[in-house]
C-alpha cells in the first residue's frame, strides 16, 4: 500500500498533502492536549510495532504481496490521534531511509495509512464495543473487525488514487503519464488482496498484539500510570525484530509498488513517461537490504534501525513535551 514516487501526479500528491495536513495539525494539537507527556514515548513503541508489522509481507497467489499496518492497534492503545502521528513518522522513516513509499507521495500514504486506517478502525471498534475496556472479548472482536475494515478503507483510498491517474493525466498518444491502470483494474487488484489475506494479516496482528499487551502489560494503555515500556512489550519487540525475515518468504512486489523496469511486464505494455523520467530518491538502505549480504541480515538490521530511531524520536519528543508542561504548570 506504500505508493512509490511517480505513480501519482505531482498535482495529486499536492492535493493529498493538503488533505493529510489538517489531520496532522489536529492530531498534534489533540495529543498535546489530551495525552500525558509521559505517554508520548509510548507512541514510539506503537510506531515501532507498526514499522515491524509493515515488514511482514504476506504473499498472494499471482505474485503480489501485502502487509499489515497496525494503525488500528495503536489507535486502540493510545488513541487515533496518537496513531496518526506514530504511523506518519514510521512512514517518513520508511520513505527517507528505506525507500519504501515515495517522498512526493508521502502525503497520500499518510492520508491512507495514518489517517483513514486508524480513524476508521477505531470508530468501528468502539461502535462494536461501546463500553471499551469493560468486556475484553467484545473489545477484541471489535478490534478485529475494526482493523479489517480500517485496512480495507485505506486500500480503497489508495486504489482510487492510483485509478484516477489515467483519467486525469495522459500524453498526446493517449498513454497514461503516471499509474497506467484505471479504476476498473486498480480497485479489484488492491481490494482482492486486502479483503482476503492482507486484511486477515491486519486482524491477526492487531488482535494478537492487543491481547498480549493487555495480558502481559495491562498498564500500557492506562493513562493514569507513569509510562514505562514494560519488559514483556520490549521482549515482544525483540521477537518481532528477529522474526522479520519471515516477510522475505513472500516473493514478488506489492501491487502498485513496481519499479520502472517492472511496470511494462505487469500488463501495461509500456512505461509511462512520468514513471520513466520521474524523480528517483536514492535511499540509504533501499528495500531494507545491503548489496552483497544476505537479505535476512539486511532485513533484521533495517528493523533494528527503524525501531531504535522511532524510540529515540518519541522519547525526545516526550521529554521536551514534559518539560514544557512542567513549566506551564509552574507558571499557572
Amino acid at each position: 500500500m506504500h505508493i512509490p514516487d511517480n505513480y501519482l501526479s505531482p498535482q495529486t500528491c499536492a492535493v493529498m498533502f493538503a488533505a493529510a495536513a489538517p489531520a496532522w495539525v489536529i492530531s498534534v494539537r489533540k495529543v498535546k492536549k489530551e495525552l500525558p507527556p509521559e505517554k508520548v514515548a509510548m507512541m514510539g513503541v506503537g510506531a515501532a510495532f507498526s514499522f515491524l508489522g509493515m515488514m511482514f509481507n504476506v504473499p498472494l497467489p499471482g505474485g503480489t504481496t501485502g502487509h499489515a499496518v497496525g494503525g488500528t492497534l495503536i489507535a486502540l492503545l493510545l488513541g487515533p490521534y496518537a496513531s496518526c502521528i506514530s504511523v506518519s513518522i514510521a512512514l517518513l522513516l520508511q520513505a527517507l531511509i528505506f525507500g519504501d513509499g515515495g517522498i512526493l507521495s508521502f502525503g497520500a500514504n499518510c492520508f491512507n495509512m495514518a489517517f483513514v486506517l486508524p480513524f476508521v478502525g477505531y470508530a468501528i471498534a468502539h461502535a462494536i464495543s461501546p463500553n471499551w475496556g469493560k468486556n475484553k472479548k467484545r473489545d477484541l472482536i471489535g478490534a478485529g473487525i475494526g482493523s479489517y475494515i480500517g485496512i480495507n478503507a485505506a486500500a480503497l483510498c489508495a486504489a482510487i488514487e492510483f485509478g484516477i491517474q489515467t483519467m486525469l493525466f495522459k500524453d498526446a498518444s493517449g498513454n497514461a503519464l503516471y499509474c497506467p491502470y484505471g479504476l476498473n483494474v486498480s480497485i479489484p487488484a488492491m481490494m482482492a488482496g486486502h479483503l482476503t489475506l492482507f486484511g486477515l494479516a491486519e486482524v491477526v496482528f492487531t488482535v494478537a498484539v492487543l491481547a498480549f499487551v493487555w495480558k502481559a502489560a495491562p498498564d500500557f494503555d492506562n493513562s493514569t500510570v507513569k509510562a514505562k515500556t514494560a519488559l514483556p512489550v520490549k521482549i515482544l519487540l525483540g521477537v518481532l525484530i528477529c522474526a522479520v525475515p519471515v516477510g522475505l518468504l513472500a516473493e514478488g512486489t506489492a501491487w502498485g509498488e513496481w519499479g520502472a523496469d517492472e511496470i511494462s511486464g505487469t500488463g501495461a505494455g509500456y512505461v509511462p513517461k512520468g514513471i520513466a523520467h520521474g524523480i528517483n530518491y536514492p535511499a540509504l538502505l533501499p528495500d531494507y537490504s545491503f548489496s552483497g549480504l544476505p537479505d535476512w541480515f539486511g532485513y533484521i538490521l533495517s528493523a533494528v534501525v527503524g525501531v531504535a530511531l522511532l524510540v529515540i524520536i518519541f522519547r525526545i519528543i516526550s521529554y521536551i513535551a514534559s518539560k514544557g508542561s512542567r513549566y506551564d504548570r509552574a507558571v499557572a
Partner: protein, 245 residues
C-alpha cells in the same frame, strides 16, 4: 567561544562530582579498548555495511539512554556531521555521492562511539584506565591536573575580564580590550603558579610521594567476558563484510 570551551571542559570534570553515573559494571579499560578498536575497524572498512551495522548497535545503546542525555549526545553529533558533509560536498559534484555518505557515516559513528563511552565512564574511570595500562604516572597526573586547572584558571580569567569590562566605559574601552589581554593573562599565570604550589603542598599533606596510584582495581567479571566476545565478533563480521562486497 571561551565560555563554550570552558563549559565543555567543566562538563568533563563536573561529570565526576554531580552526575548520577554509576561505576561501570565492566572494565573501563576494556570498554575504552573495544571502542577504539571499533573506530579503527570502521575507519579501515572499505564499504558502508560494517559502518552501518556498528552505527545500528550504537543507536540501540543511545535509545536506552535517558532523554536528556540523548539530546546532549545528538547536539554534540550535529557539528561534526555538518562539518564533514560540507568538506565532502565537492565529492558529490564529481559523482561520488556514496563517498560523501560513507565518510560522513564513519565520522558520525566514531563521534557517537566516543560520546557513548563518555556517557558510560566518568573522568576518574578514564584516567584510571591510563594507570591500568601502565602509562607513566606523571602523564596521568599531568593530564588530570591540566583539565582541572584549565577549568579553574579559565573561570578566573573570565571573572577578571568581566570585571575589566564593567569598569570600562565608552567606545575607547573596546580598543583597549586587546591591550588588557596581556594583563589578564599575566595575572592568570601568576595565579596559576601560586595555585600549583598550593596544590603540591596539599598533596604532600595527604601523603603524595610521586606515585599516582588507583585505590580500587576492577576485577574481571562475567560482564567483561561477555564484552570481550564483542572483539572476535567485530573482527569476523569485518572480514565477512570486506570479502562479501
Amino acid at each position: 567561544m571561551t565560555e563554550r570551551l570552558l563549559k565543555a571542559i567543566a562538563a568533563i570534570v563536573d561529570s565526576d562530582s554531580n552526575s548520577e553515573k554509576k561505576p561501570s559494571r565492566m572494565s573501563p579499560a576494556l570498554r575504552l579498548a573495544v571502542a577504539v578498536f571499533a573506530i579503527v575497524l570502521c575507519a579501515c572498512s572499505r564499504n558502508a555495511v560494517f559502518v552501518i551495522t556498528v552505527l545500528t548497535v550504537e543507536l540501540i545503546r543511545m535509545a536506552l539512554l535517558k532523554p536528556d542525555r540523548m539530546i546532549y549526545v545528538l547536539k554534540k553529533l550535529v557539528l561534526p556531521i555538518v562539518f564533514t558533509l560540507l568538506i565532502m560536498l565537492p565529492a558529490v559534484f564529481f559523482g561520488h555521492r556514496s563517498t560523501m555518505l560513507t565518510v560522513t557515516m564513519k565520522v558520525a559513528e566514531s563521534v557517537l562511539i566516543l560520546l557513548l563511552v563518555n556517557e558510560d565512564l566518568s573522568w576518574k574511570e578514564i584516567t584510571g584506565v591510563f594507570s591500568e595500562i601502565h602509562l607513566p604516572s606523571v602523564i596521568t597526573m599531568t593530564l588530570d591536573t591540566t583539565v582541572r586547572f584549565l577549568v579553574l584558571l579559565g573561570r578566573l580569567a573570565e571573572r577578571i575580564h568581566e570585571a575589566y569590562l564593567l569598569r570600562s566605559l565608552g567606545r575607547a574601552a573596546d580598543r583597549r580590550k586587546m591591550s588588557a589581554a596581556g594583563g589578564i593573562l599575566g595575572t592568570v599565570f601568576l595565579k596559576s603558579s601560586k595555585m600549583s604550589q598550593e596544590s603540591f603542598e596539599a598533596m604532600q599533606c595527604r601523603g603524595y610521594n610521586g606515585a599516582y596510584r588507583r585505590l580500587s582495581r576492577h576485577r574481571f567479571c562475567i560482564w567483561d567476558a561477555l564484552y570481550l566476545c564483542a572483539v572476535p565478533m567485530l573482527v569476523i563480521f569485518f572480514i565477512i563484510t570486506q570479502k562479501a562486497i
